[in-house]
Structure formats: C-alpha cells, structure tokens
C-alpha cells in the first residue's frame, strides 16, 4: 500500500519521463555489475537535479518506503541491487560538470558524471582526475565516492577518498550536508571519510568537488615477465622497499595474460607465468632514474624479459591489456566471479600459491589480475552459471579466498565494496560490538533505516547463522600461515 502511494506521489512530483514503472523500462535496472543477483525494481526515479532528489527522499521518508541509490550500475558487489518493495533512485541524468577552477585545480560535478569525462573535460588545461577504475568510461563519480573506488594509479595518487575535497549529501530526513569544500581542511569534525565508501547507506551524494592534478610531463611503463609468481611478488616488495612509489604497479598471471593477449594483442609474452606492469611518472630526471632502478630490481628478482614503453601509444597498448583483463577473461569462460581481497604485499606469493591449491581442490580455474602495489587481489573465478553445482563451488572458493585474505591480516574488499555479495565474510572480519557500532552509526544519518537497507553491514542474526556453518570446531582456516 505505502509503496503504491509513494509511486503515485513520485509520479505527481517528477516529470513523466523521469519515472519508470513499466517492466520493459525497469528491467535493465534489475542488476548491477554483479549479475548473479537480480531484482526488478517496482519504480525507477530519474531525478534531474538536487531538488528532485530531495523530493523523492521526502516521499520515501514520509511513506516509509526504502530507497536504493544507483549511479551507472557498474558496481561489482550488488550495492545498487534494487529492492522488491523500494524505489530505485538513478542519478544518470545528473551528469553536468558544474565548475572547473583552473587556478585552484578543482572541479565541482554532479554525481552522474562519468569518471573519465572529468579528465576529458580538463585535459586541454594540462590537468586530470587521478583515480582511474578500469570501468572509468562508464562508472559515475557518485558511485566512485560511494565505493571509494581505486584504479591502477592509486598507489601513488590515492583512492577516491584522497582526491575528494567536498561533498553535498542529502539525508532522508531532508537535510543537506555540506562537507569539506574546495580547500584542504574545514572546521569541525571531518565527515567526508564516513561518506566515502558508505555504499548509499547514509545519504545521497548530489555534488562532488574533486582535486585535479597536473599531468606529469614524463611517463614510462615497464613490463617485466617472470617464470614464477613468487619472484614477481618479491620484485614488488623490492621496488617499494627501495623508496620508489610507482604511479601504478600491476600484476597478471598466465591465464590472465593469455586471455588479454588474445583479446587486445598488447604484445604480452604469452609464455610468461606472471607479468608486472610498472608505470613511473614525473619530471624527466625523476623518471629516468626510477626506470633505471626498477629495471635493475626486475633483473635481480629474476625477470626473464623486460620491455619499456615511453611513447603514449606504446604505453596505452600495454595498459589496454590490463584494463581489458576482465572482459578478456569473460571471453574464455561463460561466467566469472571477481574477488577483491586485499593483503599485506609480502604475502602475495604465498597467497597466490594457496589460491592455486584451493582452485584445484574445487576443480575450477582462477585468473589473477591485480593491483600488486596495493596488495589488492582480483582473482577471477571461472565457472558456468548454468550449472548450479559449479556456481556453488565458485562461491565456496570465493569465500575461502577471502577468509585467506583476512587470515593474513587483510580485508575482504579493497575497492568493490560489500554490497550484498560480501555480507558473509564481513562476519569473519568484524566482531559483534563492531557491527553494532556500524549500525548505530548508520542510524545517525538514517534514523528510519530506509537508505539501501540490507547492504554492506550484515545483521547479527545473519552472522550467527553463517558462523555456525563456517567455523569448524573453533579452528581457523589455514593454520600454516603466520598471523598478526
């Protein structure tokens, strides 16, 4: 009843073309990048501006109807999965760049602007927006804020959090919060970190001021091929330990290399067990000395083949293989399941060997593509969704990989978020009082519990259900690995 009433109110408030209820029109919104989960939304609202957002939130608040915010729907954890009984608020119409300040190097944008279009809009001024998720042509900056998205250049330039200066947020109670601004600090307690990565659970982000960086005058990409995974892992540690912070440091394993090579022909060595892609940037002098050092470190750590690219076309080609790795893997398997654990870098080699063992145990293939410099793994589990039993095995393997990450001091998600997907492993990462603290915090901004309910933080009931399933006689998984 209240849902129908809310839909009527939204229809009478927003223009006709901004409200969708027809199954044909709403079906495209039934899933995000995590396609294993689907739910057709009863209504999709497409606000044109902040005022429309406020109206929809007010209606939801008054009728007690939950609301799920959606940007471009590229999220990989089901954060934007619609609710059967809720409104889906889609921000793609709010896609204007409101202001670019060339002197202060900032841009103020609406949430529906795509990540890449910010850099495109300021490129002629010699500036760019640094965080570059592989999905950057499609994903929205609002979604990036909600997930604290990362990218291949985040090792040096930080995550979304480090590049956001100000936010405007609408709460379900009808308040607009202005957080930060266009400076470095603001008086009072800084709430930006709370909203960055909050997965639409606290409010709707309607305006974002980002920091723009000057494009580096010089860049070079090195590709190092290795015969085994461990040496490449050690090379990563060696590079960081020597005081170089590359702009990007990425690793791919044999299966990923072959898939990417077949797809984009980047010239990757097809017979390598692993490749490292390392980009350095800065002044000519800085780049020259960093490249010399990294080359040397690759050699001493057993690289069998090193290639370098300094021309834009060559560099782009090398990156293209990496950035297209997910779709490339999508070509060699009917389905794949992307994990997102992060570990302390020194466990890279060990974890990769363990993943291989686990994959063999579950009789599944895993391709590894990851942000090695950050220790952020993206094992892609290959499976066939039409086979229920395989899907089940893939999910089981995924959980075991994440448990492994937590066991070595890591986390279940580095950049893709918890969404609906990682509620189970959240139970192994957080204690009951910690989860309760999260819920008390959600309540501060969302008293009635209407903002994206059921996502990101598992309820205690949920955890006690699955804890019974997973902890076998109080034994932790993988006792052979060091813990701290």
């Amino acid at each position: 009843m209240s849902l129908e009433f809310a839909i009527e109110l939204i229809k009478s408030t927003l223009p006709r073309d901004c409200v969708l209820t027809d199954a044909t029109a709403t079906t495209p919104f039934e899933t995000d990048g995590l396609t294993a989960y689907r739910q057709r939304p009863p209504v999709v609202a497409l606000p044109r501006d902040t005022n429309d957002v406020r109206q929809v939130l007010r209606i939801c608040h008054e009728t007690g109807v939950p609301v799920v915010t959606r940007g471009a729907g590229t999220g990989l954890s089901g954060g934007a999965l619609p609710l059967e009984n809720g409104v889906l608020l889609v921000l793609t119409k709010m896609n204007r760049i409101l202001e670019v300040d060339e002197t202060g190097c900032t841009a103020t944008v609406q949430p529906g602007v795509t990540n890449l279009s910010i850099s495109d809009a300021v490129a002629d001024k010699g500036l760019y927006y640094a965080p570059d998720p592989s999905s950057q042509i499609a994903c929205s900056i609002g979604g990036n804020v909600a997930e604290n998205a990362g990218g291949v250049h985040c090792l040096k330039y930080g995550l979304t959090l480090h590049n956001v200066l100000g936010l405007k947020v609408q709460t379900i109670e009808g308040d607009e919060l202005t957080l930060g601004g266009n400076g470095y600090e603001s008086s009072g307690i800084e709430l930006i970190p709370l909203f960055v990565g909050s997965e639409g659970m606290l409010g709707v982000v309607t305006e974002i001021t980002v920091k723009l960086l000057p494009s580096p005058p010089c860049k070079e990409v090195l590709l190092g091929a290795f015969d085994d995974v461990e040496s490449a892992g050690e090379c990563v540690a060696a590079i960081i330990a020597r005081g170089v912070v590359p702009a990007g440091l990425e690793m791919m394993d044999a299966l990923a290399i072959q898939a990417a090579e077949d797809f984009v022909h980047a010239g990757y060595p097809r017979d390598a067990a692993t490749i490292l892609l390392c980009e350095v940037d800065g002044t000519k002098e800085q780049v020259r000395s960093d490249v010399t050092l990294i080359r040397q470190l690759m050699e001493t750590n057993g690289a069998v083949n090193i290639r370098s690219a300094s021309e834009p076309d060559e560099r782009d080609l090398l990156w293209q293989g990496r950035k297209a790795a997910f779709p490339a893997v999508g070509r060699i398997s009917p389905d794949y399941y992307c994990m997102d654990g992060t570990i302390p870098r020194r466990f890279l080699g060990k974890i990769l060997s363990s993943i291989a063992l686990l994959a063999a145990k579950h009789e599944l293939r895993v391709a590894n593509v990851f942000h090695a410099g950050d220790g952020n793994l993206h094992p892609l589990i290959l499976y066939d969704a039409s086979d229920d039993e395989q899907l089940h095995r893939a999910e089981r393997l995924g959980v075991e990989i994440l448990e492994l990450c937590v066991a070595v001091g890591g986390t279940v998600t580095g950049e893709h978020g918890v969404g609906v997907e990682k509620l189970d492993p959240m139970c192994s990462q957080f204690s009951t009082p910690e989860l309760e603290q999260f819920f008390r915090l959600k309540e501060v901004f969302d008293t009635s519990g209407l903002m994206n309910p059921g996502k990101a933080i598992p309820t205690l009931a949920h955890c006690s259900e699955i804890k019974g399933m997973h902890v076998h006689g109080g034994k932790l998984p993988f006792p052979e690995l060091d813990r701290f």
């Binding site: 300040d101 202060g104 709460t171 600090e185 002044t283 950050d374 990462q429």
Partner: protein
C-alpha cells in the same frame, strides 16, 4: 627511548569504571596541544603510557603504533629505513604522542603535497563509550569493508573514544631536500604559488612571510637541482625552517596575542597587506595571523577564520548529526564532553 608498554587493559578498565560510576573522562597524551584543545571535564585519562611500535613493515610502507608513542620515536624508527610520516604533524614543545596527533588532526607545511594524517591512517583500535574495544580499518592500503571510522577519528578531539593504536601509511623520504628563499612582493609570490599546484614541480612546502617566499624542493638530485635553477636569484637556506614553522617556533609565532588560523579554498588569493602580520602556508590555503595586527576578516573569500583554539569552537552547522554521532559512540557522554559542543 621510552620502553614499549601495553597499558590497554588499564585504559579499558578505566572507561568501564567511568561508565559504572557515571563519571566523565578527559583524554590526555603529552598535553603539548593544551593551548589548541584541552578538555577540563572529568578525570584525566592518560594514554601516554600506552607506548611502542607494535609492528613496522618498511616493505609494506606501514607502521602500527600504540597511541601514547611519542612522535619523535616514530620519526626515529622510520628514519632507520629512510621513511617518514609524510603529513608531518606538529610537535609543539618538541613533544606530542601519535594519539594526540590523530585526535587533533593537525598537519605540517607539506599538507597540499603530502596529504594530512587522515590520508595516512589505515586503521585504528579504540575504546568507545560503552567500554568496548573495537578495531576498524586494517593495515592494508585499500579497505572498504564497513564504514571508515578510523579516518573519522582524525581531528575528532577524542570525542568518539580513546584511541588505543593506529596503523599508518608511511612514505619513502625523498633523496634530497633543499629550501630556497625568494624576495618577492605578494602578487608575484602568488603566481609562483599557483604554479606549485597547477604544474608538476618539485615543491613540497611553501611559506610566504615578510616579503620572502620560502620553497621546499624535494626529489632526486637532478630534478631538485633543475627546480632550483628555474628560480633566478634565489638564496638557499637551512631546511629546518620547516620544522620551526611546523612547531610554531618560527619567530613569527612569538607573540602573546591570540593566534588565528584562516583557511581558504584552493586558488583563492588571500588579500593581505605586504607586512609581517600574516604568515601564509599551503600555497595560500592556510594563513596565520594575530588578533590585533592581521585583520583576518580582510583575507578575502575564506572557508573559516578562527582562533587557534578548538576548546571554544563554535557549533558546526551539522550539529544535529554531530550530536547524534557522538551519542552513537559515547551514549553516556564520557569523553571530552566540553569539546566540540
């Protein structure tokens, strides 16, 4: 050097006792920032004995330290591996603990280029107002599991709870650092400052005061030398000017008048008289002045201008949510209850 010591059980017991006895607590490290923020409500809860580096992994660029660990000890530890805490929080009177630095959230002169402490925090362990020991974040570079409570602790002046330990990202030290001074009028200095944001340069700190622009240049030898030579007629000065500025020991700060801090948006030129009464850091985004001389109201379009004293800070516009937020962590209002009201 202070001996490592785990005082967390006593801190936890004290909080639990305060809950049971309905008493309030004022959390204290070294007390070096008492002039900036100091709670006077309730029993003092000293975190200064909870000291020590829990784990330092130079290869990972991470360090985990107990809250009472002196900033100097952290700096010495990192120095052994040629690393540093990039945001360089002030060590007023040469002291200060990392817990106090996190709670006050102050940054050194390199703020625009090296980020602040919030940017460096990866995780915290804390005691909330229910006497629960909680861990948020972790020690890895990327972590989006759960709300980012650890970074929210930065600058919160202890109102959410007692910080027990902090995991931080550290940075390799640049190969070399040099400081140059240029005699410039304010408008010319401003053009140079704008370049430090809009162009890739070797600059990692700036200060304009009394007709001189100081620039810190860092990186490898070749790029720093090139940067130096791009500024004609510069004078090389000692690098320790940045330490003096950071710790407010520079002669500018020697006054008994009330010190004020003004923040401006990036790219907005502070409107100042060309005299000694304002000291401008962060490429123009932070201006220091004294109440009588520097009329900070005239500084132009600004974010905030207030005394360098948070004990008397005005209520923030988001005070409704702020009150609820405090209650969410500290329902009995145990911690620093007179701060940030």
């Amino acid at each position: 050097m202070t001996q490592p010591f785990d005082d967390s059980q006593r801190l936890l017991d004290s909080v639990k006792q305060a809950v049971a006895q309905k008493r309030q607590l004022s959390i204290l490290g070294h007390g070096t920032k008492a002039h900036y923020a100091r709670s006077t409500h309730g029993d003092a809860l000293q975190s200064r004995d909870h000291v020590g580096v829990i784990e330092y992994q130079p290869d990972e660029l991470t360090i985990s330290v107990r809250a009472g660990t002196p900033l100097t000890v952290i700096a010495e530890t990192l120095d052994q591996h040629n690393q540093m805490l990039a945001c360089d929080p002030p060590r007023f009177f040469g002291g200060g603990t990392i817990g106090g630095a996190v709670a006050s959230g102050l940054s050194g002169p390199g703020r625009p280029w090296y980020g602040n402490l919030r940017d460096a925090v990866l995780g915290v362990e804390m005691i909330n107002g229910l006497g629960e020991r909680l861990t948020f974040g972790g020690s890895v570079m990327k972590n989006v599991a759960g709300f980012d409570i650890s970074r929210m602790m930065v600058g919160s002046l202890g109102v959410f709870g007692v910080i027990l330990s902090v995991n931080l990202r550290v940075h390799p030290k640049p190969e070399i650092e040099r400081t140059i001074s240029l005699d410039l009028n304010w408008d010319d200095a401003w053009s140079v400052l704008c370049e430090t944001i809009a162009k890739p340069t070797a600059v990692t700190a700036t200060c304009y005061w009394s007709g001189s622009l100081y620039l810190r240049l860092a990186g490898n030898r070749a790029s720093v030398e090139e940067a130096c030579s791009s500024f004609p007629s510069n004078t090389e000065i000692e690098n320790d000017v940045w330490v003096h500025l950071r710790d407010h020991e520079h002669s500018f700060f020697q006054s008994s008048e009330e010190l004020r801090r003004t923040w401006l948006g990036r790219g907005l030129q502070p409107q100042i008289e060309n005299d000694e009464s304002n000291l401008i850091e962060w490429a123009g985004a932070q201006v220091w002045s004294f109440k009588v001389h520097g009329d900070s109201a005239a500084l132009g379009q600004r974010i905030s201008s207030e005394p360098f004293n948070r004990s008397s800070a005005a209520p923030s516009t988001e005070s409704k949510y702020m009150r609820r937020l405090r209650r969410a962590f500290d329902p009995h209002q145990l911690f620093n209850s007179d701060l940030l009201l």
